[in-house]
Amino acid sequence: MPQYHQFDALVVGAGGAGLMAALHASQRVKTAVISKLYPTRSHTGTAQGGISAALGNLEEDHWEWHAYDTIKGGDFLCDQDAVEIMCREAIDAVIELEHMGLPFDRTPDGRISQRRFGGHTNNITKKPVMRACHAADRTGHMILQTLYQQCIKQNVTFFDEFQVIDLLVDDGKCNGVVAVQLATGEVHVFHSKATLIATGGFGKMWKVTSNAHSLTGDLPAAVLRRGLPLEDMEFFQFHPTGVYKLGILLSEAARGEGAVFINGKGERFMARYMPTLKDLAPRDICSRYIYKEIREGRGVDGKDYVYLDFRPEVINRYFEEDGNPKRIDAHYLETRLPDIIEFARVYQGIDPITQPVPIQPTAHYAMGGIPTNNDTEVLADETGRVVEGLYAAGEVACVSVHGANRLGTNSLVDLVVFGKRGGIRMAEYAKQASFRPINKDAAAAQASAQLERIRNSNGNERPHAIRKEMQEVMDEHVGVYRTGAGLEEALDKIHELQERYKHIRIDDKGYKWNTDLMEAWELGNLLDLAEVTAYSALWRCESRGGHFREDYPNRDDVNFLKHSMVWKNGKLEIKSKPVRITRYQPEERKY
């Protein structure tokens, strides 16, 4: 018999978006948070450089500039009304975080300190603007801790280390979730009026990634299984500065503080490609040019990496060349970028204060995901029809505020702004809605069947081998540079792996803390999302933002200024919907 719980509002995922939603929902209705990790383990905690808001604490800034930068950064695929909401509300959201106790770094007069970040500009001079509010290079850690602290203060109900297996969707309405308690293997049915998905990204389909092991896209895959679409899945951001081979992120804040890319010939190559913003061009552009340098033989020692150089004397030399009067020293960097300096020391044995750091682009962020409207309500189709009682916010959602490429810091802006909107919206809905009846035994049985099939499967395929092959083919063909032929090859390979996945075998047949089983189940989710990603990428015959097709190297606004929406009901099906444009007309993207 499954255990049964009833809450007005359920939040799945306990990162920034989930906790922000929980804080606001729990003030209004009976709320619970379900997370497969302890909340403080969530990946929001690894965000480094900052959260942007046009506070204007150090120089002139306006939320409209932030909005324009975001839309241009997204290569004009963002829904502009959503971006305007985000950038306008970012200001109050950052202030709210400070009021909750977030230890932002401070200006000499005690206000929140801000720094430069890629693609964030003064719209008049076109030069970088100080917009990213920061707490050293552990801004995400501080956000996660602060939100969790507030949840403790408000006595929010948590179900920690519960893995959600299925969404209860019936007749276009969501009535809760089914989860398994990892410690016991018991199935729990959570009956709700409103459910918000905030489970973050799914970068583990690639080998070189900044993403945590837990980012396996369990809920987006459940959404697909329930016959609902995913949006813009072809757009995945490859962050230019991952630790070589490991993919661990080295924050863009390094370049915000003056670090530069250097190729094998010792050249600061970004100045050649993007004469105004140079090394602070948006991430998709930097990642492409890093690979261009490598392909043309200008990687370091002819290998597949370049340097991120933040030795103080190098930073100061380029400050001088750029006419920037600022000068920095080692102590300054150790204060502003302590964690990433430590990452290089620990994982690469390199001291960034005295040596340049080998880097390569790393799979980082999903611009696409579960389609929502501006109120975080999940969309059932391309016409805007909503799934009643179902919400999504943060990285897992596609509003779309990031379009084809997200600007640095905007992930944190997205999750606090839309986490809050979602929490309030779902609570307001739950207040006036009643519980719809569910068959809890049938729901539990259906979810259990997914796990029992794996537990009892007696094939000879090892999950690890399948995961490895998936990650390799995704790195090779569904990365920074893509071609139609490569994507078709990837799709074939993924279909082969999905077939082999039906014949897996795991070692652990038990119930308590069966991580062998959970990893195998997560792999199935990743395979489904990898398939959808490659399929959407094959459909989009143009190059835009993070999606670059060598066989279609230009942006094609005539045919592709639109979002993709993909379903998997037996077979894959793709549709599209228009981009919402308010005041910023698409233009060529130059920096």
Binding site: T40, R41, H43, I95, G101, K153, G349, D507, D508, G510
Partner: protein
Amino acid sequence: MKVTLKIKRFNPEVDKKPHWESYTVEVEPTDRVLDALHEVKWTQDGTLALRRSCAHGICGSDAMRINGRNMLACKTLVKDVAQEGGTITVEPILGLPVLKDLIVDMEPFFAHYRAVMPYLVNNDPLPANGRERLQSPADRARYDDTTKCILCACCTTSCPSFWARGEYVGPAAIVQAHRFIFDSRDQAAEERLRILSEPDGVWRCRTVFNCTEACPRGIQVTKAIGEVKEVLRTGVIQ
């Protein structure tokens, strides 16, 4: 390089008590101990249970006892704990009930965390201009070290006082209390100090420094505890 992982195993569905098992794996010297554990789990024995997530020392999931010292498996390189052909011993952290293999029950740890009011308390009206509260860079720097805590439990489960008495709030909870006691915006220092002056509060610390050595974030834990003791002695927060 070849190393042997000697891992303390316990499966609650089968075993009465824990036992050791050894696995030999081929790894790069610069691989993390977490990579070596994954190599075991993914290629030799899928039943091995451990927690892990970010794999670069930020989420705090994979605290464990490696060669007798508390570390994060993802922040410890194989070459730093073993030589070619050598053995790495891996056990769950001590002082918390073992649930399975390297997974312990974290609930007592988080209960101590919650007990010290780990959140900002400030009942003054918010600034009338709708903006942030002001805090000088010096006031912000005062509590910087203790903001780094990731709640991995390396410190608390390395502490002999905690091993002897699980009711002791432990270093991690004191670090959290310190982070707010010394924050110029906070107004609940008195209440936190009252909690920490109880018999299972800060005075159970015997200044052994295990916590400071164990902290993967480099927090000066013993110093922070000492500062809290100092406030209790003098009644002055500075």
